[in-house]
Symmetry: D2
Subunit: 341 residues, 4 copies
């Protein structure tokens, strides 16, 4: 951490900061020019992040050089993390995940059709929402436990692992009984109590980036889960909130490329939620893979016109099948492979 | 709801939309020009929000005219909602709340000093965090239940109601035992399960605006709580995330003015979190009151230099006392009063 | 400037940065911990801002502590700048400007009515657009020179100074012949050639903040004008672009408060453009003044329903008159005065 | 255009809107439900964009269905526009442009080395800045006319067309004498007078997206140029301003995909400016091409460490050569080709 003092800060102001640092157990190194003094602070992460020096007399700026995360960083672990889900699916280090399925589980028939179609086209995992976070209380909220069971049954029929969201921390155990991957939705990325809980469970977690979360915040949230002991974490970029309204959100692919450099964890992209427009899903899946994503997450519905949510961005089974055909040569060109063993 | 068809959409495409609407129980009214046809949709909120027509062949845009909320709206209830907290405190309809206290509860002594000081200066409620949401898992996370007890004791000593955050839905009952107002933090504004739970509890709720929540989303989240049966809801603007980094967030005072027109619920401002800079807190409290806010929420710490969080933006007791002196003439000028009876 | 090296950067990498710094005429001061080395750079603004060290081997981050501006800063000049416009109008150091008039000059009659009305209500300057920046080429683009003449005539009739925008640097001289204050629009705030030109002219300039300009960029743009020799510069916050769409832009009043601390230049607010909604203009003028603004800029049209632009946010003469009545007690309460001598 | 009236708007309010519409020469079609009346407006673009109905009594919302642009739209011209630059270079309809060169022209030697290197690696055009827009007036501002000449000479030596920015509308003719493509920088995208001027010139134009410009605003700005008579326009996405600071801006690749659907004009990506980080440039070029971009614009400098601007994001000649090698198979896979005949 660096404490940049204001121009011509007084000796007393400088000494005061130094005293506070030493009191807290950190070391202070002064480097002064004619106009400015800068105080370098050395101490461990826990101490540095407990110091609150901004706003002290004479302090212009406090710059944290030490990152608020450690375990998730490539500096800590250089090689890609590989997450195995069930006996066959795998993601990371060149294994590409393709997670497909409807926004919400609506019926056995819907799930049976979807699972059959996505499996046939080459998906490696089945997704579906049983508990749905909806902006309006007047919108469809999901089938709950019944939905989980339908999802599981359809997945088992086709030997696919299940990915589904934990909307309420109180449901985490229940969801874990029926699902293979526990998803943290964008709106819960900074629900730290849920992150704590998922860090203690023995199931892979897929954590979506919050709508207005910086890359540093994504990695800090991820740190909660790894710090809890769970190493099987997959990240997912799903669009950030910007001023642009043509697309529902803005898919931050340079964020994906950056995450791949900063962390060893696998990173997926979800163009369905990011764009909110079916006609952009395929092209952004392809761009995402080329940007370095370890996989894609795509909404597929057998009958999007009657979907209870996210119809506008859902692919039909045929559309998904075409998408898969377009992904294969790109995967091959980059020396990667579908994550299925 | 309006469905705007693409230029020269075919009769089949138009008819298909009409069929889907009627199937769902909504009425369709066509109004066609030479180039464009627009379909007006009439139906109840639940139906309209379950329709997913964007992305259908021939559909250019779907415009929702019906708002995703109802109970929170001024159209539904014209007069200001007044929320009473304990025997004395009141907010809304001209009664101004002043909620003051530290970011986190740290010790009995800290709370005793703070409560005495803010009470003496004129605060109407005491705040303090027992469970702290922290971006980094390496930062101080709060004292938990012990903190709640310290907060309660200090407040009782000075006859002040207690405002504190429910960070985990599983703690809601516990927090309700010790607090008078249950706060929903910005990161939980779209934690819909928590909103549901708080909607069912018989305690006033203070809900902060999410960092990237639109005004419509704030009102939709508020609708969850009112729909659950709880009418005692206070909103709080605490800064939105923008590209500007000089202030921690951007305090959206035109949003406050807009909320005051759109909803009957009281709206506070929290300049401490919004600006992250002590030197801006006072002036933005004053501007907030003039923008129409029903009160302010301010961080006060007896010794900000040693605060475990948010030191840079905390006022000292003296600073808070000066702030109160500056607020009184503004409150009077506008024909309002401190919310204490 | 600080160069933060990556953890365990090599001696060669560190030395290489030091060599480059010395070569450029700057001094390098090393402060190394066990893990990190940080290089403090001392040199003059011109040198420091010509260095491009980010991206060098071993460099993690380059932090510029020296601001990209100097003349506009309170550190350079502590007392408020006062700008005099014509024989009577004045802004800064407690003198409050009220600039009112239509979005665009449309006719002699429109301007005569407006000037009479705003003068009567207490405005200190008349605004009006002769050259209009319009997003769509199909929208009304202004009357040009004819408009300037109408604006001047109406202002002279009521002894008001004229504020109008220079849309094209080639028109700067012409506009200067007819106007008292040359306005730089938000879309031209980083049109550096225009800033250069206006820096050399002997007329007061009113520069609006760009829609996505940070406070640092506002001050850097202002520096261009002062560096050119023109000290008569007025800044104006007119809303920044955020994700919120209920208001046209987000009026950044904490930005105003911050600017007042960082610079000696006067700062106005323009709630008409910021909110795009007539019903929010008055309240945000008042909040702006309390946030520290040195004045307001307001759109007034004798017949908003027939305005050629910005009708929805224009006040009627009566509305403006009411606004003025509401401003007076606030101005007085703060110990300020209308800027008219 | 649709005018959505407030719930239970009065007959008078509705009639008043209808009268205004008819007065302006537009047709009004009412479609009323029990609660809401919606007025459909039919008229030509010029009329519709001159109407200002928001804010009228009883009006809740005005929705413009008619886009503020026409000539740039795929609805107006379905097939891809192909822009030819000089005898060999071509972009659009499958021809991929690769524009490479330094941020700023610094010396003959620098340009000679760069031109030789990028030509050898396969670039189809040479870029370089003679007039530089710089946030701080203390930063290097470019060599001006001398720079143009150096750029031209280096390009001629290697038979490459020249792309360079027109920073000041007064220099447009001069720049046109020395360059083949006139670039409009991001900060000038809404400098409408410059757009007007470039619309009248007989040279291809490359227009960069503004930092906070929506897709609709990009297309409206493009419309200015086409409306002036110049059909040879190339668009370029170069990152938008968001809350994320790890990358300098956020490269909006779903915006590129959207633009390719909405307009017939070619669209490039500039990952150098968007990311501000050399290590992300290559991967984002590749992702950009897969997202549908018609080419890339890349900063290359023979000695980035000594570059006068944008060193951190400039590729070395070797780095650029590797990039080109990585682009070729992607171009081929998609059935495209380098735009050089």
């Amino acid at each position: 951490m660096l404490v940049v003092m204001r121009d011509h800060a007084s000796q007393d102001e400088i000494q005061h900061v130094v005293d506070l640092l030493q009191e807290a157990g950190a070391q202070a190194h002064l480097s002064g020019g004619e106009i400015k003094t800068i105080i370098g602070v050395i101490g461990d992460r826990e101490i540095v992040y407990s110091l609150e020096l901004q706003g002290l007399p004479g302090v212009e700026e406090v710059i944290r050089v030490l990152k608020p995360y450690k375990l998730v960083s490539r500096d800590f672990k250089a090689e890609d993390t590989v997450v195995r889900i069930g006996p066959h699916a795998v993601v990371g280090a060149g294994d590409i995940a393709v997670i497909a399925g409807p926004c919400s589980v609506e019926s056995e028939e819907q799930m049976a059709k979807t699972a059959a179609a996505v499996k046939a086209a080459g998906a490696t995992m089945l997704r579906g929402g049983a508990y749905k976070p909806r902006t309006s209380p007047y919108a469809f909220q999901g089938l709950g436990l019944e939905g989980l069971k339908m999802l599981r049954a359809a997945a088992d029929e086709h030997d696919l692992p299940v990915v589904t969201e934990v909307l309420d921390v109180r449901d985490a155990q229940t969801v874990a009984e029926w699902a293979d991957v526990l998803q943290v939705g964008a709106r819960n990325m900074q629900n730290f109590m849920m992150l704590d809980e998922l860090g203690k469970m023995g199931k892979p977690v897929l954590m979506k980036r919050g709508l207005s979360a910086t890359i540093e915040e994504v990695l800090s949230a991820a740190e909660y889960i790894l710090k809890g002991g769970n190493r099987d974490l997959i990240l997912c970029e799903r669009g950030i909130r910007t001023f642009e309204t043509y697309t529902r959100n803005t898919l931050d692919l340079s964020g994906v490329a950056a995450l791949r450099q900063l962390t060893h964890l696998p990173v997926l992209v979800d163009p369905s939620h990011a764009t909110g427009r079916r006609e952009l899903v395929g092209v952004m899946c392809r761009a995402g893979l080329v940007a370095g994503a370890d996989g894609v997450m795509v909404e597929v519905h057998p009958d999007p016109e009657h979907a209870k949510c996210d119809g506008p961005q859902s692919l039909t089974p045929d559309g998904f099948s075409e998408l898969m055909e377009s992904l294969r040569p790109l995967i091959e060109l980059q020396g990667l492979r579908l994550g299925w063993t």
